[in-house]
């Protein structure tokens, strides 16, 4: 009888989960398996219907620095991620500390205005900034002109375009980090600071021994989340520079542009390598946070 009950319960569970699983199988699982299969083939514009199995050739190509820019793009993506995360966290922390000043007037108004960039859809922000970085008519070069600095070719030079994308990404990403940190700061018990003061702590001591340790549990997940988002950034790079012929490419735009160049199997192989990197990140994160308890 108990066994029959258990069986019935199992059946019920599968009834509840199957519709979702069918869609997941079609949209998420099948494409990954199919990409894995394609990554061992030579499907491209020349072999669209009559592609054949080529083994590890695509993977060999990815990791040879002469046949593919993938390694360089990966290094650039790591630099992009580190630079952005460091700046986002430092600037957001600084802004949150200032916004958290005791008895400051208009706090709410400042806070609302400063989180506006977060509320604008990211593709619209990227397109607006693309206009603002325009060489002849963009607001940035006009502003630089007024300050007596010459025009900068933001969108045609590789390094400048990379800096422009970092600026846009900071503008878009700082607000979220700032509210998280501000929320963390506001939840710290003021008695801790008073206790520290009695012990003769100065401002730096208080930040180091009270603020940072208390913030960490709140801020760490937000940093992880932002790191993933930054590493997987697509909109900013693609909409503002289109990859600039490879000079501002990050891994996702690179895989996408390879697909656009009709190198289907090569693009699939890139996808698999990127997926592997992301899985490793995810597993490390799960270990660190002991998350994923099911």
């Amino acid at each position: 009888m108990a066994r029959f009950d258990k069986l019935k319960k199992q059946k019920e569970a599968y009834l509840f989960t199957t519709p979702g699983n069918i869609v997941l199988a079609l949209v998420v699982v099948f494409p990954i398996l199919y990409s894995l299969y394609l990554s061992f083939c030579n499907m491209n514009i020349g072999h669209y219907a009559n592609y054949s199995f080529v083994g590890l050739k695509n993977y060999a190509r990815i990791f040879s620095t002469t046949d593919s820019d993938f390694v360089y793009v990966l290094i650039r993506t790591v630099i992009w991620t580190v630079v952005n995360i460091v700046l986002i966290v430092v600037i957001a922390f600084f802004l949150a500390m200032i916004l958290n000043t005791k008895n400051l007037a208009f706090k709410g108004i400042y806070r609302t205005i400063m989180i506006l960039p977060w509320a604008v859809p990211s593709y619209i922000s990227a397109l607006v900034w693309k206009g603002m970085f325009n060489y002849d008519f963009g607001a940035i070069n006009k502003l630089l002109g007024m300050l007596g600095i010459g025009k900068i070719n933001w969108l045609t030079d590789g390094t400048n375009a990379f800096i422009a994308c970092v600026i846009v990404n900071l503008w878009m990403s700082i607000p979220f980090m700032m509210i998280i940190i501000l929320g963390g700061l506001q939840s710290i018990d003021q008695n801790l600071y008073e206790a520290a003061e009695i012990d003769g702590a100065n401002w730096i001591n208080k930040v180091r021994n009270v603020t940072l340790p208390m913030l960490w549990p709140v801020v760490f997940p937000a940093i992880v989340l932002t790191t993933f988002v930054t590493f997987k950034q697509f909109d900013i790079i693609y909409l503002i520079t289109q990859g600039l012929g490879g000079r501002t490419e990050l891994i996702l735009t690179y895989a996408y542009n390879t697909y656009k160049g009709f190198n289907y199997s090569l693009s699939a192989a890139y996808s698999m390598v990127i997926f592997l990197i992301l899985i490793i990140f995810t597993l490390i994160n799960m270990k660190l946070t002991k998350g994923g308890d099911v």
Binding site: V27, L99, A105, M114, Y123, P175, A255
Partner: protein, 280 residues
């Protein structure tokens, strides 16, 4: 207040006002652009208030561009995606939270890993699937892809919330002779309004703001979604000449409601993001 405090606050106010200007400058720039009679990028000075103010751009985008059609396409796709992903994820999440079955644990771990896979990387496979189903340049294809892409996140989020609802409530209902379906529909769902709000919000944003997939799989302007159409307006490489005033007007029409929604619901958004982030 002591004099030193006043001086300190003065400096802080100046600094914060500068930060606010940086934060809203691009927004002011497109507002100004959208009311500008001439293609404002062609002027050389940095005047924020246009010389000739006009509402013509807001009219032209509907008449000279299929903007109404884009809005319609986006609305259909977004609403369908939101409804579908909510129904599918609520039932799945309920089973993962309340029932114990073979494969439950391993499925949840697989979800965590799948969540790491950005759907842009599936583009080759999507192309083959849509092509063979004859769904390229078609709303249904996009709806299926968007729904599937939302599911992992929404299932995890809803499951985490269902876990917080005491089982005792259900046990009491079962004793009263309520069926499993009624239990889910009449007791669990009404109790889960905050979590459902988060799921709806994310599914809505996912569909309304999605750009890459729809750009890749729609080819004719009358099939475009809003993001693809707006991006086309800023490109001068295709049939559309770069038209910043029209782009600005369109961008404001779609961004204002979304931004307002964002600001009103930011508490939910943050809880959704951190919940999804921490617990997977």
């Amino acid at each position: 207040m002591r004099r030193s405090t006043i001086a300190k606050h003065g400096i802080i106010h100046i600094f914060l006002i500068m930060c606010c200007l940086i934060a809203i400058f691009p927004i002011i720039w497109i507002i100004s652009c959208s009311f500008n009679a001439s293609n404002s990028l062609v002027t050389t000075d940095l005047s924020i208030i246009p010389k000739h103010i006009t509402l013509a751009n807001y009219k032209t985008i509907f008449i000279n561009q299929p903007f109404g059609k884009w809005l319609f396409n986006s609305a259909i796709i977004t609403l369908s995606t939101t409804a579908l992903s909510l129904i599918l994820s609520a039932t799945s999440a309920y089973a993962y939270s309340r029932m114990r079955f073979i494969g439950r644990k391993s499925m949840l771990y697989v979800f965590l890993l799948l969540n790491a896979f950005p759907n842009i990387l599936s583009i080759v496979a999507y192309f083959r699937i849509l092509n063979s189903l004859n769904l390229l340049n078609n709303k249904i294809g996009l709806i299926i892809i968007y729904t599937g892409s939302q599911l992992v996140f929404t299932i995890w989020n809803l499951k985490a919330f269902f876990d917080t609802i005491p089982v005792e409530i259900e046990e009491a209902a079962i004793i009263d002779g309520v069926s499993k379906f009624e239990l889910f529909h009449k007791i669990i769902l009404p109790l889960s309004k905050p979590a459902i709000a988060v799921a709806v919000l994310f599914a809505f944003m996912g569909g309304w703001n999605e750009y890459v997939i729809s750009m890749t799989f729609t080819f004719s302007p009358d099939k475009f979604t809003v993001p693809v159409g707006l991006a086309a307006l800023t490109n001068n490489t295709n049939q559309y000449a770069t038209n910043w005033p029209l782009f600005s007007a369109g961008a404001l029409i779609v961004a204002l409601p979304v931004a307002a929604l964002f600001l009103v619901l930011q508490r939910y958004l943050i809880s959704g993001l951190t919940l999804g982030g921490v617990k997977g």
